[in-house]
Structure formats: structure tokens, C-alpha cells
């Protein structure tokens, strides 16, 4: 398709998506109301209405909504492509994802049968009342979770990725110049260092950054004041695209919550709060097996973390509501995964009684609650916290646990990490390869959790600033390689995987931005 047709296809897609949305109705209502305004004349009605909408900030809201859709559009959208192609263009990856999903379903089903607990049931009235009273302190509840185990852990998923093969790829075993020493053996396109330098150009040494203590190029306190001033202006303008560009250099702590909300186009309208209340009602009414999985996960991960244990109650609220939110099903259009299906009891095979389980189609795994935990530092109102988390999940986090060829997908990130390491630290990679301490086995858990729980929270938030700013997860692959580069000397001395793990066990003292800058811009190519 030529450029013109591609653009018009995108425009048509976005209009189709936005028509019928809340924003559409609001703007229509606003346009009708503005007819009473003196500046709107009958002779120049169309122009006047447009002008009015422009001045009252609605054009900006529309721009932000369009920008949000553009960020989500993943393919060039050739209309002849079938829906499964939009989910994932490569056939063998679709097949691998389908068989991985089948394993998860079997695992969940066997847990159900072993424990004789239904996947979902309606709560009796007294139980509903009890839950309502304890809504804000679900952490004090100590249900018996000993029989529950996570459906899968990141390392199980890693094994699946290691075994991923393209049947059309010549995987001959002779070592050659293009041999890949790492675990991922699929030939996806990943950026090399010069492409990364261009992509992350705002991280280069000539730009001021938040997250470094001093800079030889730009005096840090002058930069911080100026940057904060620009940040306030961006927020006053309410422009998502500008905010996304701005946050590439980091966000001042006091502006971060609002900036992330603006970039993700998350509003705090009464409708959003009402929707959240609706979700809490459905949590109270129906009891799901995945609720116990979430409880267990929070108890195992966030509750044991020095930074996040205080947010335990928030985490339960957000995660339980998340699993009942059917708007999350939208993201399966561009996610290679498919939501699990089931039938209302006694109606197996009858399509009118087919439902998705859980209602949002996402089955949690060990460590899932760590996606929410860092956000608790930014938002203390559950509806806003929930909306921001949901938007971040639908834009980024889902890519970390599904098999896809997307450049921000976990497969590409792993390959990116291994390629960077092999190209720029070949001695280290070879040494680790020889002692059977494949670097990916250590770095995988960092990347799947987007470093949550491994970095100090202020550093983590600086990293997530850049994820939002560049609309890509590739930075976490670069960071993983940068961490290895930083600890290279110690790693060259180790002689086993366990010792390598020990060297890289504690990342809490690392400063993320200087590490990234050194790796990207100070590595000799």
C-alpha cells in the first residue's frame, strides 16, 4: 500500500474506534450546548462550533484521544489481513502461544479438580455483607492459601521461549559467524547499538536528565528547575503528545502522577469513578478462584517487600477489580493471547452460555501483583490507581507474558538483551556460556517484572518514565545488558550459575540513568 492509502486506513480505523466512545458523546453534547453561546452565528455555524470547541479545550481532548489510539495501533493495518494476523503475524508464534495457553488451562483445571473449588460462584448474601465491611482491609483476612499454588512462574515461561523455533529457519548446528550463543533461537529483528542510540537520543550525554546527580554538561539544579517549569506548562496545556516527549528526560516527583495520567489519557470523570464502583460490586457478588491466586501472589511478593507491604490492601482492591473488568478484553485484538472460555454450569457447548474466565481474560502468574505495586506510590485514590494500572497493562505489561514478534514483546526483549551482550561484551558472554550460566536465566525475571521489586522505587519510577516517554519496553533490555556490563568484572570471576546469581542478586543500589547512558553512549563499538 502506498503512504496515502495507509494513512487513510489509519484515519478510518481511529474514527471507527472513537465514534460511540464517551468522548464522542461528550463532544456532541458540548457542541449542542454551545449553540446558545453568542459567538456562534448561524451563517458560519460549522466554523464557529469548531472554534468554540477549540477554545474550550475539547480539541485538545480529541487530540489526546487520537494520540492514544495511534500509540496503540500496532500494525500498518492492511485491511485484507485477517484478525489473527493483527494479533500476531507469524504463524508459528501463534501456534506456540496457543499450546502454552492450553497448558495453563490444564493447570488451572487440575487445580480446580484437586481442591474441589469451582472457578466462579455467587457469594451468599452474608458473605457479601462481610466483604463489604472489610473492603478496605482485605489484608487482615488470612484465608487458608496453602493449597493454592501459582499457575506458572516466569521460569516456566522462559522454558517455552527457549524452545520456540521457526520451522522455516535453518537451525544447522555448525557454529558460524552468525551463531547466537544465547537461549533465544528465533531470528527477530532487534535494534543494534547505533539504532538504539538514535531511538533513545534524549538519553544522551548532551541532554539534561532527571536521575543523575551531577553532569559535566548541564548544571543539574538549573536543569531541574527549568525542567519542572516546563513540566507545569505541559500539564497546564493538557497535551498528551507533549507530555510524552517531555517525560523522556524524566519527571519531577511532584508532577509524575499527573503526567502519567495525561500520557495514558486517563481521566477522573464521575463516569470513571462510577465504573470502578461497579467493579467493586461485582467483586462482592461473585467469588472467583483467581482471587485466591491474587491473594497468594500478594502475600508471596509485595507483602514481603520492604517498599510495598504497606500497599497490600490497595493491591487486593485493584487486582480483584481488574479481573472483573471486561474492557480489558479489548486488548486481545492486538495481543497474541486469547482469553480462556468456559460455559455456565450445566450448559457445556451451548454458545449462549459461553463466557470468558476470568471476565478480563487474564490469568495471573507468580509476580503479577508487582506490576501494580509501584503505582501505589503515585496514586492514593483507588479509582485513579486502577485506571492507570489498567491502561499500563493494556499498553505494555501484557507483552511480557505472551509469545509475540512485537518489538516490545518479551521474545524480542530477550533477544535484544542477548544480542547486545554478545556484541559488546563477548568475553563475558562466552565465559558465562562456558560455565552454563546463561545470562538470560538471570535477566529474564527482571524483564518480566519490568524491574519492579529489584530496583529502588525512585529508580524504578525513573525507568518507567522512559517506558512511557518512548512508548516501548526496549529500554528494559538495554538496562539488563547495562547491569551485566556494570558488574562484568565480578562476573568474570564466577564459576557457576549460583555464584553469578549472587553477584546480581541485589540491584537496589543501582542508579538506572547513569548506567543506561554509559552503556548506550560510552560503549566503544
Amino acid at each position: 500500500m502506498d503512504e496515502g492509502t495507509e494513512l487513510s486506513s489509519t484515519i478510518a480505523q481511529i474514527v471507527h474506534k472513537l465514534s460511540g466512545s464517551q468522548l464522542h458523546f461528550q463532544m456532541e453534547r458540548q457542541a449542542k450546548e454551545c449553540l446558545n453561546h453568542p459567538s456562534v452565528q448561524l451563517e458560519t455555524l460549522k466554523e464557529d462550533v469548531k472554534q468554540y470547541l477549540r477554545k474550550s479545550g475539547w480539541e485538545k481532548k480529541l487530540q489526546n484521544a487520537v494520540y492514544q489510539e495511534l500509540n496503540m495501533i500496532h500494525t500498518s493495518g492492511n485491511p485484507i489481513a485477517p484478525p489473527e494476523h493483527i494479533k500476531e503475524p507469524l504463524t508459528y508464534m501463534r501456534k506456540a502461544q496457543a499450546s502454552w495457553e492450553k497448558r495453563i488451562l490444564k493447570s488451572l483445571n487440575s487445580m480446580c479438580t484437586e481442591l474441589s473449588i469451582p472457578l466462579a460462584r455467587k457469594r451468599p448474601i452474608n458473605e457479601q455483607k462481610e466483604l463489604l465491611t472489610k473492603w478496605n482491609e482485605m489484608g487482615t483476612d488470612e484465608p487458608d492459601l496453602s493449597h493454592f499454588r501459582p499457575v506458572y512462574a516466569p521460569k516456566d515461561f522462559l522454558e517455552v521461549l527457549i524452545n520456540l523455533r521457526n520451522p522455516n529457519f535453518d537451525n544447522s548446528d555448525q557454529p558460524s559467524a552468525s551463531s547466537h550463543w544465547g537461549l533465544i533461537q528465533v531470528p527477530l529483528r532487534v535494534k543494534d547499538l547505533s539504532e538504539l542510540r538514535e531511538f533513545f537520543s534524549e538519553l544522551s550525554l548532551g541532554y539534561g536528565q532527571l536521575g543523575i546527580e551531577e553532569s559535566s554538561q548541564v548544571p543539574q539544579d538549573i536543569f531541574e528547575n527549568e525542567h519542572a517549569r516546563i513540566g507545569r506548562k505541559v500539564l497546564a496545556d493538557q497535551d498528551s503528545a507533549a507530555a510524552e516527549q517531555y517525560i523522556r528526560q524524566g519527571s519531577p516527583t511532584e508532577l509524575r502522577a499527573e503526567l502519567w495520567g495525561l500520557i495514558l489519557n486517563v481521566t477522573s470523570e464521575p463516569e470513571d469513578i462510577m465504573y470502578y464502583e461497579q467493579l467493586t460490586t461485582s467483586v462482592v457478588q461473585h467469588d472467583l478462584l483467581v482471587d485466591n491466586l491474587f491473594y497468594k501472589d500478594v502475600k508471596l511478593t509485595a507483602s514481603n517487600d520492604d517498599y510495598y507491604f504497606v500497599f497490600e490492601d490497595f493491591l487486593y482492591q485493584v487486582l480483584l477489580c481488574f479481573s472483573r473488568d471486561t474492557t480489558v478484553l479489548e486488548h486481545f485484538k492486538y495481543n497474541s493471547a486469547t482469553p480462556p472460555k468456559s460455559y455456565i454450569r450445566g450448559n457445556l457447548g451451548i454458545e449462549e452460555f459461553a463466557v470468558v474466565y476470568p471476565p478480563n481474560g487474564v490469568i495471573p502468574f507468580h509476580g503479577f501483583s508487582m506490576y501494580v505495586a509501584p503505582l501505589c506510590f503515585l496514586y492514593n485514590e483507588p479509582p485513579k490507581l486502577y485506571s492507570v494500572f489498567r491502561e499500563m497493562y493494556m499498553r505494555y505489561f501484557f507483552k511480557l507474558h505472551s509469545i509475540s514478534s512485537s518489538s516490545s514483546g518479551i521474545v524480542s526483549l530477550c533477544l535484544q538483551f542477548e544480542t547486545l551482550l554478545q556484541t559488546h561484551l563477548p568475553q563475558l558472554f562466552y565465559h558465562l556460556h562456558e560455565i552454563s550460566a546463561q545470562p538470560l536465566r538471570i535477566a529474564f525475571k527482571w524483564m518480566v517484572r519490568v524491574f519492579s521489586g529489584y530496583l529502588a522505587t525512585d529508580q524504578l519510577l525513573l525507568l518507567w518514565d522512559r517506558i512511557l516517554g518512548y512508548n516501548s519496553l526496549e529500554i528494559i533490555a538495554v538496562l539488563a545488558a547495562a547491569v551485566f556490563a556494570f558488574r562484568a568484572e565480578n562476573l568474570m570471576e564466577v564459576t557457576s550459575l549460583a555464584a553469578a546469581e549472587a553477584v546480581l542478586a541485589d540491584l537496589s543500589t543501582l542508579k538506572v540513568i547513569p548506567l543506561l547512558q554509559i552503556f548506550l553512549f560510552a560503549t566503544v563499538t
Binding site: L7, S8, L119
Partner: protein, 223 residues
């Protein structure tokens, strides 16, 4: 070659061509040589060699890196004479021939992208190149040729499309945005396509996950 059951205007003007099997071009004895061929040729001929005006070629890629298209064009004045002309030269399907990007994507090549006017065509020759040795096979799938049709004015378009104001008043970014007139003309076609292709259900979700208040589930289903 069978036509897709017409649910979309895309396939209304399909020409029932026969797509021949790909022939590989390589030097040496094709039977005993073990090297993979890097060039394949696919011939697509119209039935009974009737000539048609080409609108679009669409296909699904299968690890082909570069495509060249040649057309067997008849001279309208002297029907006996026909010659091969190149209409698309070195069209890149895969940004990097060694990696997967673009390897299984769908492509459409319209007549506006071609070097010559593709009228009075009797055959299309697709020359595929894959210089990388890492792939075992390559080719194209689902090759479809459509011809220029009559004007499809029966489709109802939303009123906002017909009155698109030109972008001329907005600040012009040099070279960044394609010609707005061209866009507004092709947007009508695209709108019709996406209307048919995408599901017609409203994008606003209702939010109910249960069936009549009941959400009692025992086990997950595998199908």
C-alpha cells in the same frame, strides 16, 4: 484458483487467474545442487488470455525479501503484439532479509504504485528474491489480482467524509504529510473497506460478564 466468497468490496473485482507453481532460477543442475535458490518466478495468467486493466495485486508474504513485477502488456492498437514491461522494481517486503519482520505480512500493490499504466494485461510475472541463506523456503501465498471496476457509488458513506475540508489551511510540514486530496479520495475507499472488514458492534462495551446474573463456572474449556 478460487475466489473468496465476496463479503467485501476488495474482492468484487477479482480476476480469476491461474497462479502457476513457482519456478526457481539457479545456475547449475537443479536436481543435484543442494544450494537453496535465491530467485523464484511465479507466473499468473488470465483465463483464455483475455486482457484486463490491473487495479491491484495483493498477496501474503512467505519470507520473500524483494519483489519485482513484470506485466505482459498488449498494445491496444495491434492486439497481436504484446511485450513484457517492468512495473515494480525491487520492492522490499522484508526490511532485513535475515530477520522475521515483514516475513508473513499481507501486502497490496495498487496501480498508482506501478511504473507504467497496467492496462491491457494478459499475464503477470512475479519475480521473488530472498538473498538470505537462513530460510529453508520462500514464496508468496494467496496471490489475488483485481481489475479496475465500475464506480461503486452505492455504498453509503458518512456525511463527514464527503465534506472533508482540505488541510491546506493548517501549517504545512514539508514532505511529512502526503497530498491531502489524494488522501481524501482514497479515504472513501478505505472507510468502506474498514466498515465491512471490522465487526459492526459498537465500540462502547456494556460491561456484563455474567449471563442473566449467573456466573457459576466449573472448568475451563479447551476448544
Amino acid at each position: 484458483m478460487d475466489l473468496i466468497p465476496g463479503s467485501s468490496s476488495m474482492y468484487d473485482n477479482m480476476v480469476a487467474c491461474s497462479v502457476k507453481a513457482p519456478v526457481s532460477l539457479q545456475i547449475g543442475n537443479m536436481v543435484t545442487d543442494t544450494a537453496n535458490p535465491g530467485v523464484l518466478v511465479i507466473d499468473v495468467t488470465s483465463p483464455e488470455c483475455t486482457s484486463f486493466n490491473l487495479q491491484e495485486i495483493s498477496f501474503k508474504n512467505n519470507y520473500t525479501a524483494f519483489l519485482m513485477v513484470r506485466l505482459h502488456k498488449q498494445d491496444p492498437n495491434s492486439p497481436g503484439n504484446a511485450k513484457w514491461v517492468t512495473c515494480l522494481r525491487n520492492y522490499q517486503l522484508m526490511p532485513c532479509p535475515h530477520t522475521e519482520e515483514g516475513a508473513q505480512d499481507y501486502f497490496s500493490i495498487s496501480r498508482q504504485q506501478m511504473l507504467i499504466e497496467p492496462d491491457n494485461i494478459t499475464a503477470v510475472r512475479l519475480i521473488l528474491r530472498q538473498p538470505s541463506s537462513v530460510w529453508l523456503n520462500f514464496g508468496l501465498e494467496e496471490v489475488r489480482i483485481s481489475e479496475t471496476g465500475k464506480d461503486d457509488s452505492e455504498k453509503t458513506l458518512p456525511s463527514w467524509i464527503s465534506s472533508l475540508t482540505p488541510v491546506g489551511q493548517a501549517p504545512k510540514c514539508q514532505n511529512a504529510v502526503p497530498d491531502p486530496d489524494k488522501i481524501s479520495s482514497s479515504i472513501q475507499q478505505m472507510w468502506a473497506l474498514t466498515e465491512v472488514m471490522q465487526s459492526s458492534k459498537t465500540t462502547a462495551r456494556v460491561g456484563r460478564f455474567d449471563v442473566d446474573g449467573c456466573y457459576d463456572i466449573n472448568l475451563l474449556s479447551y476448544t
